[in-house]
């Protein structure tokens, strides 16, 4: 369908920045995400994770810098990128007054998956996400864990090269979280690149690589093992706390004081 390169990084940004008035939400971000990896974007609230994802999905235009997603310039040709990525927002984007099947059917249709292909794809999604028994249930009546699964199924029904998950497991019980991460692992094994943000450090340990953001800046990238070794600590959580503490210590005290 598209002639964009299928090798090369899934995401490549250079000096990607976003300002809202005097507030710099994302500050000269250089990020490289390899194809097929599960890439975790970590950082406290307001560190720029969601803004980064929104720029990478074409929901926001960067103030400066460049970004290539699946090898295509997201700023210049967002529609070319959109066919090949999936996105699951914090609010899931499901229609509560439509059934599980209708939601799946709708999103598949938006991505141009039609006819026999659509029927086959939806059957696959239902099986992979264990949603078969709930096809006729209204999305609004699903519990958090099931909503999450359906949202992921909807975001991936067109078999995207890359899927963005913005805090997909916020407010969900531990068992549902574990199951959800099993699903993420399966997606990655089938070659899909996953960029995920999370506040749960146990989830961070499951990522191939991690990037730490603090106040819009990238302050560390690496595999969980590299990172913990480099800092001489046992867990990613300790790194997270340490990095954030350092960054805050070296920064001016008020947000608005920054240029």
């Amino acid at each position: 369908m598209s002639s964009a390169p299928t090798n090369g990084p899934a995401i490549l940004t250079r000096g990607l920045s976003k300002s809202f008035g005097p507030l710099v939400a994302v500050d000269h971000l250089d990020l490289e995400v390899t194809r097929g990896e599960v890439f975790g974007l970590l950082g406290p609230n307001g560190s720029g994770k969601t803004t980064t994802i929104r720029m990478l999905t074409g929901l926001m235009e960067p103030t400066s810098g460049t970004a290539e997603v699946v090898g295509i310039d997201i700023v210049k040709t967002p529609e070319q990128v959109r066919k090949r990525i999936g996105y699951m927002s914090q609010r899931f984007g499901l229609y509560d007054d439509m059934t599980v099947l209708e939601n799946l059917d709708f999103y598949a249709g938006l991505y141009g998956v039609v006819g026999a292909e659509r029927r086959k794809r939806i059957a696959e999604q239902l099986a992979e996400y264990r949603l078969e028994g709930r096809t006729k249930q209204m999305a609004g009546t699903l519990s958090g864990g099931w909503k999450q699964r359906l949202a992921l199924a909807c975001a991936t029904s067109h078999r995207p090269d890359l899927v963005f998950l913005d805090e997909p497991t916020a407010g969900v019980d531990p068992l549902s979280r574990r199951r959800f991460w099993e699903l993420i692992g399966q997606r990655a094994n089938s070659g899909m690149t996953v960029l995920v943000t999370t506040h749960y450090m146990d989830e961070a340990e499951l990522c191939n690589r991690l990037a730490f953001l603090s106040r819009g800046k990238l302050i560390g990238v690496g595999t969980p093992k590299e990172i913990t070794q480099r800092f001489g600590v046992a867990r990613v959580e300790d790194v997270f706390i340490e990095l954030q503490r350092r960054d805050e210590a070296s920064a001016p005290t008020t947000e608005m004081a920054r240029p």
Partner: protein, 375 residues
């Protein structure tokens, strides 16, 4: 890729199907869309009466003769006056009109019979409370009519005919009933209201629920998104037109003189234009409440300036220009033309073209203003 397959892959179809599913599920809104026309029709149809009749009138009859009583009866016979009582002096007239218990008074002087018999030309005075111009004009015309009729009768008794007679033939609405004029207009006003609000709310609701953010990261185009959103409401619009036409016929005996098919054809660009106004509103606001407010704000000039209630010919030029910028102004002409005058749609090709122009322009404007971003 073959054309058929490419068309089948349009995200537009998915959008359209989704909107139909949601519309079917939202029973309350659907019921309101059908119920509102009936309520509005009853409200406007029964309440709006521009013809003023049965004004309370007091009589000061200083003549106290059969002739003076005949004149009072002639006034009452016009239907514009009801006898509210007899008074005995002018102070009582001032008091009754001042209090509002009477809106008109007739004073017949003592020499009335005498003058009449002498053929000198008798005089009577009608005092009218003209604070309300609409009501007083009915009194004034009623008085003139009664005077004229008495004159003809008296001349006829003497074997004479009046020198000039003007015969007025009220075409299309011989009973001069306001409902006949108002009800076709209600179709347009109602569509202006419901279509604008429904389309305005439709997109904003997705903004509020967070589904719009999900939608805009998919490859659906802005035009597909907007058209897919509004096309199901076309059906609602046509159902509303039908409900009002049927009820208007049953309750108010509004005539269908022209071809109804023509009416439905011209209704299409009007409904699209109204929906497009709603889409445009949705690009300006962030919440459903704001969309509703703007929708009702849009309704007001439509009621006042389109010619729905007040004739545009009577308006100062700037008000006429404003009215000319409203799609309803053009649709009203077609509605009344087709229903009341039986004029063919071909007589209204200018209006039709203007409406088509409005709908294309407004859709294009909304699509331009709509951004596939969340800033």
């Amino acid at each position: 890729m073959r054309v058929r397959e490419r068309v089948a892959r349009w995200p537009f179809w998915a959008m359209l199907r989704k909107e139909f599913i949601q519309m079917r599920r939202d029973r309350l809104t659907l019921a309101m869309m059908m119920g509102i026309p009936a309520i509005q029709l009853a409200l406007f149809g029964y309440a709006i009466r521009t013809e003023v009749r049965h004004l309370p009138m007091v009589v000061l009859d200083e003549s106290q003769t059969p002739e003076s009583r005949e004149l009072v009866q002639a006034l009452i016979n016009t239907g514009n006056f009801d006898l509210a009582g007899m008074v005995h002096d002018r102070d009582a007239i001032a008091r009754d009109i001042g209090r509002g218990t009477a809106r008109a008074a007739v004073v017949i002087p003592p020499e009335y019979q005498h003058d009449l018999k002498r053929g000198r030309g008798a005089h009577a005075q009608i005092i009218v409370d003209a604070a309300d111009p609409l009501g007083s004009s009915a009194a004034i015309s009623g008085a003139a009519q009664a005077g004229f009729e008495r004159t003809i009768e008296i001349l006829a008794q003497k074997g004479l005919a009046p020198p000039v007679t003007v015969n007025v033939r009220p075409w299309y609405n011989p009973g001069l009933r306001s409902a006949v004029y108002i009800v076709p207009g209600i179709i347009g006003v109602l569509l202006s209201m419901t279509m604008v609000v429904i389309a305005g709310v439709a997109i904003v609701r997705e903004k509020e629920r967070g589904t719009l953010e999900q939608l805009v990261v998919t490859p659906i185009g802005k035009t597909s998104l907007m058209l897919g959103k509004i096309i199901p409401f076309l059906l609602v619009g046509f159902v509303q037109v039908t409900v009002i036409l049927v009820l208007g016929r049953l309750l108010f005996h509004v005539p269908f003189r022209g071809n109804l098919l023509n009416l439905y054809i011209v209704a299409l660009p009007f409904i699209v234009a109204s929906l497009a106004v709603g889409l445009f509103i949705s690009t300006l606001v962030g919440t459903q409440a704001q969309a509703m407010q703007l929708g009702f704000f849009y309704l007001l000039p439509n009621i006042l300036l389109s010619g729905f209630m007040f004739p545009r010919e009577a308006m100062p030029l700037p008000a006429q220009w404003l009215g000319a910028a409203l799609p309803l102004t053009y649709f009203l002409r077609v509605l009344r033309g087709v229903l009341l005058r039986g004029t063919g749609w071909d007589a209204y090709w200018t209006e039709t073209l203007v409406l088509v122009g409005f709908s294309i322009l407004l859709i294009a404007l909304s699509v331009r203003r709509f951004h596939k971003t969340v800033e």
